[in-house]
Subunit: 321 residues, 2 copies
Amino acid sequence: MNTKTSSVGLADVRAAAERIRGEAVRTPLLRSDALDAAARGKIWLKPECLQRTGSFKFRGAFNRLSALEPAERQAGVVAFSSGNHAQGVALAAKLLGISATIVMPSDAPRIKVEATRGHGAEIVLYDRLTENREAIAADLAARRGAIVVPSFDDPYIVAGQGTAGLEIEEQLGRAPEVAVVPCGGGGLSSGIAIGLPDSRIVVAEPEGYDDVTRSLAGGAIERVQDPGPTLCDALQTLEMAPLTFGILHGRGAEGVSVSEREVKRAVAFAFRELKLVVEPGGAAALAAVLAGKVDVAGRTCAVVLSGGNVDADTYTRCLGA
Amino acid sequence: MNTKTSSVGLADVRAAAERIRGEAVRTPLLRSDALDAAARGKIWLKPECLQRTGSFKFRGAFNRLSALEPAERQAGVVAFSSGNHAQGVALAAKLLGISATIVMPSDAPRIKVEATRGHGAEIVLYDRLTENREAIAADLAARRGAIVVPSFDDPYIVAGQGTAGLEIEEQLGRAPEVAVVPCGGGGLSSGIAIGLPDSRIVVAEPEGYDDVTRSLAGGAIERVQDPGPTLCDALQTLEMAPLTFGILHGRGAEGVSVSEREVKRAVAFAFRELKLVVEPGGAAALAAVLAGKVDVAGRTCAVVLSGGNVDADTYTRCLGA
């Protein structure tokens, strides 16, 4: 599991679980009478909004950074992210005594920028429309000899995210029949596909950003073009990686897309019925289930709430939905 | 444990834990880097907002109702409550096949009235300023031969709420040095005082509604007069009961009061840092800790977040704090 092209197996996810033990939160598995009634199924929620840094990203980041060689740790790490991966890397780096530089878009939610800085990382802001974050990060890394920590295209990142799937099966006492997972580049969903080898995997994307859904349906990676704005800042990926595509396609995963309105309603549902703060992107899988886009009737289904880092004004707008 | 004047012991709380097993949620014990830093202690959160019906009240209500005799079940139950006890009784009654009538103030949060009705209870609204809810409930109960289920002045209710304390000790592996608990009539805090016999107990009340704080300090039950409005609708109790006073006073518990501003800040902190929806009254203990009103520096402390049933407009106002 040392190069980008190698895949990830259950043993890697188990090794990741050992590495993050005592550092990451073992988030609970929750259920809700109102949700079961609305979905006409037996729904179990994995609230990664309760994870350290407010999203699942800490799992993969800590797993990646704790596997670095001493010399690599010394050189520091660079990451680019709209916010959740940024926070995960920043906190993992702080805990491991590694210096971190994070390249973030200037329009990232304020709560995410402030929290990343709060974990002691150096922030480099860029303009999403005119600048290329990969180039900025690569340049920074080259000048400092630092390692770039990708947000999903890395076997250690995928294995780390997969620990959420392992936990679901341990907490439930069996594999859920279906697991529905919010999806940007497919790091979390492909990790969970490995961690839950006996479950049907469904990924949920915002409308316009449904590159994974299309790629899985068509059997080859497809890139989306100019999708326009979305409330789901965490899921604004235009193209998945061969690593995540290979895993999800190999597992026969499929995708659904959800509208902005469906996402807002899911955020409001989580407020009203679950008492959980879920960010728009983190609510995509819940939105898909509430909108009847995944057939869960009579089934045992795990729904991942992938993050809760949302500004108060965006949140308030969602509650009015 | 059959009359109002009898007290409650650890065996009663353990029996309650058996009765509610599989019905109530075993809420997780969570922690937060940001909270530990702010409080300079080791804080463990018991989020009863994640309990069924969105507050701890389901524990006591289910314990009380499941201990009714068959003839009593047949006659149905009556309760009065601004909302959280109402929902707890309504859901417990539904699960046990008992008919429930709930007397609620006409200015109760809409979310609480709707949820109570959603659990199948009959709602009787009254005017808080001109009508007496105890009299209305007693009259209803007399006419129907139904049992009145008090919100805190009942040994089964207290024992049921105490199960939250038992769980804290089991989940932590030891008793916390301090437990800070939101307090209205003292049902939850006295239950937790029994469930955590080795912890120092601190109750948190809204300013003006600090009857328990004063009663514990003075050694006799004191009633507060005309305290005016508070965001903490769940904690608007004017006077505690001999049962809850006896338990808390016997344990050497003490109280602190928190301002509306401190409560709002705690609700906003829970949104931003914990990703939990906590209602104003449910955030009173967190508010006390964040405001430095409880000495937790260097200590292991359990803070109960007692409920999360809050309307969107009230919540939004708190987020601006």
